[in-house]
């Protein structure tokens, strides 16, 4: 009798899960795949084929946008790793117990604040009439206000800002678990700081590094506000293209195609990353706060 009750509760618990994943994740992705294969030839007349994808491949503007998004995302990921690793190490290993919690909390705060507010803050700081520009003018460093927005460097700075905490958090978690005596043994056996770093710290932190890089890459490639607001209308970011196709031009077929491409592209990178380092989604992304 209890076996039947167990079965019933399994079905009851599985139903919301199945509905959620099926209706809100799986079916919609199939939906955009379907639409991306569709081509409007007349009123309510559709043909199916890969025309949309061919159009994409031939249109230099779209191809370039995707490549640009890709290489900037990779660059941002690398920067986030290089800049964020020392911070994580400091918080995990060097800071004292009490300040550790405070520092970590301070790191979390910008995360909780909306993307929008952060982008707005950068605009207030960096635009021609913004804080930095007027400060520099009033200090006599430059004669006229300068526009610091709307270029690649700013976009990259802004993107790194947005994502660096997603790199720091997994790294801190991983490194906090590292036993200090591992480092001490490394030094004791004659290693220099560089050796200990290269051979002990980095390999140990690898799961955290991989998790951080994957998360950061996904977020960067998929972000909208930072590149669009800081880069201006010529920012040429892929998600912006998707938005344009859907909302501005109402060309859902093209928009869906771009969406599928973005999805495939980011999934490919994630899968490659996981494969190369021997991790899985469950061991990296799912180890959340």
């Amino acid at each position: 009798m209890s076996r039947d009750a167990g079965r019933l509760s399994l079905i009851l618990l599985f139903a919301p899960f199945a509905l959620w994943i099926g209706l809100l994740i799986i079916l919609p992705q199939i939906g955009i795949g379907y639409i991306s294969l569709r081509e409007k030839v007349g009123i309510n007349e559709y043909e199916f084929g890969f025309k949309n994808y061919a159009d994409f491949a031939q249109a230099a503007v779209y191809r370039n946008t995707l490549f640009r998004t890709a290489w900037i995302s990779i660059l941002v990921t690398m920067l986030a790793l290089v800049l964020g690793f020392p911070i994580s190490y400091y918080i995990a290993k060097i800071a004292r117990e009490r300040s550790r919690a405070a520092l970590f909390l301070m790191c979390l705060i910008p995360l909780w604040v909306s993307d929008l507010v952060r982008a707005y803050g950068w605009i207030v700081l960096l635009r021609e009439t913004g804080v930095v520009s007027t400060a520099l003018v009033s200090m006599g460093v430059i004669n006229e206000p300068i526009e610091m927005l709307y270029n690649d460097v700013t976009v990259i700075i802004g993107l790194v800002y947005t994502v660096i905490l997603f790199m720091i958090v997994p790294l801190v978690s991983t490194m906090q678990g590292m036993d200090d005596s591992l480092l001490e043994a490394g030094f004791n056996l004659g290693g220099s700081r560089l050796t200990v770093f290269r051979r002990i710290v980095v390999p140990y932190a690898m799961p955290g590094i991989v998790a951080g890089c994957i998360i950061v890459f996904m977020i960067t490639a998929g972000s909208y506000l930072t590149p669009v607001l800081l880069g201006g209308k010529n920012s040429s970011w892929f998600t912006e293209q998707i938005y344009n196709q859907f909302i501005t031009r109402y060309n859902w077929e093209a928009g869906a195609t771009f969406g599928v491409l973005l999805l495939l592209f980011t999934s490919l990178v994630v899968w490659l990353g996981l494969r190369l380092t021997g991790q899985s989604l469950a061991t990296t992304v799912a180890k959340d706060t």
């Binding site: 994740i25 705060i109 803050g121 207030v124 607001l229 928009g255």
Partner: protein, 283 residues
């Protein structure tokens, strides 16, 4: 080791600069909410609360700005609905994965985490497309006019729900893992029905995680942009309203006032969620 003190200080300076970098835009956004100037920039013209309370143009304060207030209200009630739904679904998922065994369980677990890996924009457009397809089908075949499948609040709720559920599931499952099953057996042994065990023993134990998950879901929903952008109809949440202001109309420091409210609110809620999970009383 010689020179390590030197190195340590350089390190400290780097860390200090980093936190400055973290804080700068937030300060910029927030500080100028209190600047008595129609422009969110230097020079500083004196402290004022006008951007919050004033009701005369051109300095329309936040509390008198109709569209912004409506945006806040929309964000608030959407956030409440989505948070409640995703905590409920998350609790079911937590029990499903922590307590039950079934074939392909690890594959389904990966599926559960997948929504976090899909870019928000894609989540938005995919739900938009599916909803439209269904709505068009219903319209052409049955003559049914299903407005809730068109861009608007229901779709926003569904879009945010799709990935928030993953977050709540993970948070609640983490807590459920730590639950000592012999507590449930003891309750059964003392005569409690299964439902009673759930409500008097298991759920009270889970409560800090449920509370924390609710707050996290609410926060993420409140500040969500990418997914919402694709699904928004006529009732816009605060983030969309603010974005429109920034891009189209041109901004006054009222947006800074909004930023302050957002920052303070998020900060408090975040603190609350962290404290709730750490509370020793409900261990």
């Amino acid at each position: 080791m010689q020179g390590s003190n030197h190195l340590l200080w350089i390190y400290r300076v780097y860390v200090g600069l980093f936190f400055l970098y973290l804080v700068a835009p937030l300060l910029a956004a927030g500080a100028f909410a209190f600047n008595d100037s129609t422009f969110p920039s230097l020079p500083w013209r004196g402290f004022t609360l006008d951007w919050f309370i004033s009701d005369t143009e051109p300095k329309l304060g936040l509390l008198n700005d109709e569209p912004l207030l409506r945006g806040m209200w929309n964000s608030f009630y959407i956030g409440m609905i989505v948070a409640a739904l995703s905590v409920a679904a998350g609790t079911c998922n937590a029990f499903l994965f922590v307590r039950k065994d079934f074939p392909f369980k690890s594959a389904f677990y990966v599926l559960m985490v997948v929504p976090l890996v899909i870019p928000g924009v894609i989540l938005g457009i995919s739900i938009l497309v599916l909803a439209s397809m269904i709505a068009n089908f219903a319209d052409s075949q049955f003559g049914l006019f299903l407005t809730w499948l068109r861009p608007g609040v229901p779709l926003i709720v569904l879009g945010q729900f799709s990935f928030l559920t993953t977050i709540t599931s993970l948070v609640i499952a983490a807590r459920l893992q730590k639950f000592d099953i012999s507590l449930e057996e003891a309750a059964l042994n003392l005569g409690a029905s299964r439902l009673r065990v759930l409500t008097t023993v298991t759920l009270p134990f889970l409560f800090p995680a449920l509370f924390s998950a609710f707050i996290v879901a609410f926060l993420v929903s409140f500040e969500n942009f990418n997914t919402t952008l694709m699904l928004v109809g006529s009732d816009a949440p605060l983030t969309i309203t603010m974005y429109d202001r920034m891009v189209k109309v041109g901004s006054t420091p009222v947006l800074n006032a909004v930023s302050v409210v957002l920052m303070v609110g998020s900060g408090l809620l975040a603190l609350l969620s962290v404290v709730a999970q750490r509370s020793p009383k409900s261990d």
